[in-house]
Amino acid sequence: MPDAPANGVCLAIEGLTKRFGGFYALNDLHMQVATGHIHALIGPNGAGKTTFFNLVTGVLPADTGRILFEGKLVDDARPSKRTLRGIARTFQNIRLFPHLSVLETVMIGAHCRAFPSVVAALGKAVLQPPFGEAGEERTMRDRAIELLAFFGLAERQDAKASDLPYGDQRKLEMARALATEPRLLLLDEPAAGMNPHETLELDETIKKIRDRGVTVVLVEHDMRLVMEISDRITVLNFGTRIADGVPGEIQSNPAVIEAYLGEDVKL
């Protein structure tokens, strides 16, 4: 176990296990993510990275083990409740709402902060002023526009989400996730499908997200990106942690090189 980080633990994973039949997608995983870090999770395909995301966000139930977010157990909460508590994510295979505009997409993210209860949302919908927009609506819109500007998408706010180029769709997913005001953001392969130029841009974007006070956990195959921006890296193979450390340590770790051997990846 690594020592407890100086500036607090954002996410603590204790003995997390997930089986699919006889296959261990995650096997007794221990891991700590320090508040304010960009923490990369890497490993060959099938190592359990996406399963890890699905367990932390509550899409799948864990078999055993505990997930602590800011010191509190999150195991039983539904995904939407975890988002309310401050855990947001993007998806490996982009999942945008195809018929919503770019602006509306980000406003969906802001919905859970403006209306944590369905009853309040219904009340506001029924009793809204007949002309002009409700106060919450304006707050959500302003916040969405600010986030779109942050990602350089402000110009496209009226376009359909599905009409954006691939790289922009990935950015839009991040904007939507940030609109939920998370303190922990899980990015599932944000560089997949991006061209080298866009990936370079992504370096800065993820750092800027961290500088907004959001802890980032990053699953990524682009090793240049991972080594460049990560504060800490955890390496998984077959559901087990095989290494944990700063980028320099990981690059020279024999177990990691072993795991990647045969794959055309330069560490």
Partner: protein, 319 residues
């Protein structure tokens, strides 16, 4: 209202068309969150029987019975909505279809409400048209507001990608239940109105075909905008009347124009074709559905289409 203006036939026509519009909105509410129900006729039956028991057996005024019908429909809707949360697509269709069948069997075997004889002598409510108009007005305002609200947008997001919506902190469970319950409540109101206009119903009144027709209204009108159900139900209720009027007009033609070959054959064919009753109506619905699926799968009205027509957009373009 309108007593002097409308003859009995037109009144009755408008009432049934209006009840269909309300039923279309009962389908639209859950559909907004992506839940497709073939069981809305079942919820109409719940509302119809619940309200008719109050008025016929206990002499309670119609207005109170109407509200009761809606409330009971809504409660049953939430009860059915819970298992419906877990299933999607074709399985949800089957669940709702099964629910409607269960209701019909209960009604058939329950002697208190007439059993196989049917529920007779339900008090006739002569103000049904007023109620229908008022409820449609309320529904239009409600769904128009929903469409421009954050909750409405959240419902759209659930329809488009439930997993992503849940990950964005949208309370998918509660919102889907709310939508399903709201739809069932609206169906209950429609059923109560139906019962007190028709004054008779039995286990075959609210049948599978009615559930299919209700779905058709929204498919034809368009499920992406709140105006779709209104337009769909109106169009499908008006088409038979237009055909009927054409047929009447055809019969007014001078005999001298049509009593020779080939005009007599043309006349017979048209006269037959425009006879839009029962079985033929179903064939026509089938044909319309197939054509719609090919030509306009999103229905006559779509939200994007309406946006393009909106004055603000037009001004922007032509400034």
């Amino acid at each position: 209202m309108f007593e002097g203006l409308l003859d009995g036939y037109t009144r009755s026509l408008l009432i049934f068309a209006g009840i269909n519009v309300i039923a279309a909105y009962s389908f639209y509410a859950p559909f907004k969150t992506g839940q497709v129900s073939l069981g809305q006729a079942g919820f109409m039956a719940v509302g119809a029987y619940a309200s008719a028991i109050l008025t016929q057996k206990f002499g309670i005024p119609f207005a109170a019975a109407l509200i009761f019908g809606g409330v009971v429909g809504g409660i049953v809707g939430v009860a059915v909505g819970f298992p419906a949360l877990r299933i999607k697509g074709i399985y949800l269709l089957l669940l709702t279809l099964g629910f409607a069948e269960i209701i019909s069997v209960i009604v058939l075997s329950w002697d208190y409400v007439g059993g196989a004889q049917g529920f007779r002598k339900i008090p006739f409510n002569r103000y049904t048209l007023d109620y229908v108009i008022a409820i449609i007005a309320v529904l239009l305002v409600l769904f128009a507001r929903l469409e421009r609200s954050s909750l409405g947008r959240a419902m759209d997001s659930i329809h488009q990608d439930e997993t992503a919506a849940e990950a964005m902190g949208i309370d998918v469970v509660r919102i889907k239940l709310l939508a399903f319950g709201l739809g069932a409540m609206i169906a209950g109101l429609a059923g109560a109105l139906y019962a007190h206009h028709a004054t008779f119903m039995d286990s075959t009144t609210f049948n599978v075909m009615m559930g299919v027709e209700i779905l058709m209204f929204v498919v034809v009108g368009g499920g992406s905008t709140f105006l779709g159900p209104l337009v769909g139900a109106a169009v499908l209720n008006i088409i038979p009347e237009i055909l009927r009027a054409l047929r009447d007009w055809l019969e007014l033609l001078p005999v001298a124009w049509t009593n020779f070959y080939p005009m007599n054959r043309v006349y017979d064919f048209l006269h037959d074709f425009l006879d839009f009753e029962n079985a033929k109506r179903l064939i026509a619905y089938g044909v319309i559905l197939i054509i719609m699926m090919i030509v306009r799968p999103d229905g006559l009205l779509t939200r994007d289409g309406l946006r393009r027509l909106s004055p603000a957009r037009w001004k922007l373009k032509h400034a």
